[in-house]
Amino acid sequence: MIGQWFLKIPSLNELATSVQQWGIIIAAFAMGLGSVNIIIRNVHRIQKREGTDWLYAIWLLAIFFLFAIVGIGFGSASSQYRYIFNTILQPLSATMYPATLFFLVSAIYRTFKTRTVEGGLFVIVGAIILVANAPVMAATFPFLVSVKSWIMDVELTAAYRAILLGIGLGAIMLGFRVIFGLETTHLGREEET
């Protein structure tokens, strides 16, 4: 794979392309692993019959099979699948992550405190950008826009660039460890699961 990137050798190119395709297929198979886990865990929960917990497990399996059967039977482009997706999964998925907003608001109010110099800088800059992000304030106080763009384009870009350089090197090193087998201890461990 790395050879294909840097070198221009046609046969290597072809090999790399088909290996990529294999990667996609194996990845598609791997997506089923989570589902198998879910089935095993929930069958277990039903067997245990603790309180009302098993009712949730039954419901979970029912919905799972509804999606899997409709999806595989009719195909994901079918109107049936589209209907269950749009009524059930879409509102849930659309609310799940955004609902983090409430935790974020509570965290901002309660835990983001000026305990140290670090915390102070964090809070002050956070406050400035919050105000500058409000279009109403940006329209009333134009200097906020220039403060914000200075922080974003100069300060933040520079700081994140340093972090990214570090992470980039880390990733290259990770590749080194994987390719030269230094990472096998963890791979070996994981097979014990």
């Binding site: 996609i24 990845a27 901002i108 279009p135």
Partner: protein, 280 residues
């Protein structure tokens, strides 16, 4: 007297969170029912995307990665509509595809709103635009799409073989893509790595504001050409293509809720500082 004041500060630090949540919901409802229509300033990142879109020629192929999930539909969908509108206006051919699992259904929801634009421009499915569906493997899939799209897809989303689709007959690999744009909340860097770094394809990104800081360094270095900054960027794009829609509506929401959150942050911290001063 001091103790009475301190009492207020301590109280201010212990507003029940339900009240905060209630206030923030109100701050979103009010502007949605009573829009104000504030002026929108165009950021350089959005401007460069718009300028880049305007270089599209009628035969050019643009890859659009419909990679958002329902969670970020509120700004990715308007963003995608605005960008596609401009591309259609320039006459470019559009290839939609997904590398995230909710993508196919998100595409169909987007299409419900966008079909009229295609119809107006006499765009025919298969000749001027096409949807290929979902492919697993994330970055591996993106790499495969860049090097040979046929290793990732053998047919379009509706089951027609790629070779029977007129548009796809001349689309094979990176050399055939004029530019790509990814609407993602996942890993925007991977698109840049596989398309721009590897083959020098012009790469645009539309991601959430929360991820923008992490990829700003790549925009500064020119590895990303156009960068839409979440809902703000989508609104700017709507203004630029003169088609105000859902994203512009969101702009008013930002005004109210951001100021409210700012107030929370300040109250929480003033209370904290006052309390600590008392403790000393």
């Amino acid at each position: 007297m001091a103790s009475k004041q301190d009492g207020v500060w301590i109280k201010l630090q212990h507003i029940p969170r339900e009240i905060l949540y209630f206030l923030i919901i109100i701050s979103m409802i009010v502007p949605l029912l009573r829009p104000m229509g504030l002026p929108i300033t165009i950021s350089p990142q959005t401007r460069s995307l718009f300028d880049s879109l305007n270089t599209l020629e009628p035969a050019d192929v643009m890859l659009e990665f419909v990679d958002w999930s329902a969670g970020s539909m509120s700004f990715h969908q308007p963003g995608c509509i605005a960008v596609s509108f401009q591309a259609v206006k320039r006459g470019a051919k559009l290839v939609f595809l997904s590398t995230s699992t909710e993508g196919p259904l998100m595409y169909e929801l987007m299409l419900e709103k966008f079909q009229s634009v295609f119809d107006e421009a006499d765009y025919v499915y298969g000749e001027d635009y096409v949807y290929l569906g979902y492919v697993a493997g994330e970055e591996t899939a993106r790499a495969a799409i860049a090097s040979d799209i046929r290793t990732a897809f053998s047919s379009d989303y509706y089951g027609t073989s790629l070779d029977e689709i007129p548009l796809m007959q001349r689309v094979h690999n990176y050399a055939d893509y004029s530019m790509i744009i990814s609407y993602t909340m996942g890993s925007p860097e991977s698109f840049v790595r596989q398309f721009n770094t590897q083959y020098g394809v012009i790469t645009h990104i539309h991601c959430g504001e929360m991820m923008t800081p992490t990829i700003l360094p790549f925009w500064a270095s020119g590895q990303i050409t156009g960068l839409l900054n979440g809902g703000v960027g989508a609104a700017e794009m709507e203004v630029l293509v003169k088609r105000p829609g859902d994203a512009v509506k969101l702009t008013d929401v930002y005004s109210f809720s951001n100021i409210l959150v700012f107030v929370f942050l300040i109250i929480g911290n003033i209370g904290f500082i006052m309390q600590r001063r008392k403790g000393e």
